[in-house]
Symmetry: C2
Subunit: 205 residues, 2 copies
């Protein structure tokens, strides 16, 4: 049953931004699982068409058949895994792994908040907020490092994609200095970042 305004071509369009870390996570999952989807880069600030599908105007948003919107990134990554017949990729019955996903997502959000705070105009920016976010971000990375052995072992799965995209986003928007405190994550990323899905989706130089 197809709702009004929907096409029947079963097409998947993943809307993302040029640098969005969450869109990249979803894209890498889609690529790794071999799904047939279009990746569409939009400027989220002017993309008012998106409001009718996702009123929070988040990227990523996944549009199915031109009408059904699925979001946020965690829900999209789950949808991709179900479509690929790979629910095991999600390890969603293992709350320790899911907590590591939530930690990597939380570090990414903290990094994004730090970026947004840093580009606020003079008179609206807070040095105290910036400092607090920096502490949280660095504490998060050191905590994740304690679990680097668990993250790097075993087959390709959600927590690895999310951690790798987070680390490269921190490199891009914050600093690469985390490598000194996080040798386990550093060494693991060195190989993981060479995967085809990571190379194809890398928005930053």
């Amino acid at each position: 049953m197809i709702a009004m305004g929907c096409s029947e071509d079963r097409k998947l369009v993943l809307y993302g931004g040029p640098n969005s870390p969450f869109a990249r996570m979803a894209r890498v999952v889609g690529l790794e699982l071999g799904l047939d989807f279009e990746y569409s880069v939009i400027d989220v600030y002017s993309a008012s068409f998106l409001d009718a599908f996702n009123p929070l105007r988040q990227i990523p948003t996944l549009l199915v058949n031109g009408c059904d919107a699925i979001y946020d990134s965690r829900v999209i990554m789950a949808e991709f895994a179900f479509r690929a017949g790979r629910p095991d990729f999600l390890h969603d019955r293992d709350s320790m792994k899911s907590t590591r996903v939530a930690l990597s997502i939380g570090i990414t959000e903290t990094c994004l908040q730090h970026r947004m705070e840093s580009i606020r105009p003079e008179g609206e920016r807070s040095g105290a907020v910036l400092a607090k976010l920096a502490v949280k971000l660095e504490r998060g990375l050191r905590h994740l490092e304690k679990m680097a052995g668990e993250i790097s072992a075993g087959p390709l799965r959600l927590e690895q994609v999310v951690a790798a995209c987070m680390l490269e986003y921190v490199d891009y928007r914050y600093s690469g200095d985390w490598r000194a405190d996080c040798p386990g994550l550093r060494d693991w990323l060195l190989n993981f970042r060479e995967r085809g899905s990571m190379v194809a989706s890398r928005p930053y130089g």
Copy 2:
């Protein structure tokens, strides 16, 4: 196998704040599913003990046996459902329902951001940011209203708990004016808010 520093009593402690909407969602799920857990109210600003378990110092954080930390709220709610033998409560194979969960969580986050922005000191506050968050919040609520029929029908499940806690948080921190635009959600909440779990967890008057 019990790690160093862990107790064997299988005790669940859910750390929350006096007004945290996300902690309330997890608490309501735990109460509805009949789980045996302690709810511990902490002041997140001074709760440095939490950093060792959750470096993002988020509430809610669930501590199992005094040592294994589970977060964020979505992961905790899933853990509760697995422990209760009720994975159906999560409807996690239904991405349309999961998208509604993500929308309610996103509206809650927007409301929280609006609150945090509004209490920033003069010279660090942005009228433009406040206005943008207000637009997003109200657009999110009107969008959810279109799905009020789907949300209100059927058995008790995750998307209902998350929507109800979100609506009462918007009432508390923003405004109750959404009722004029959202009669479906308004009428549904009128009954849902009388549930024992909602009454027992209601932090605001």
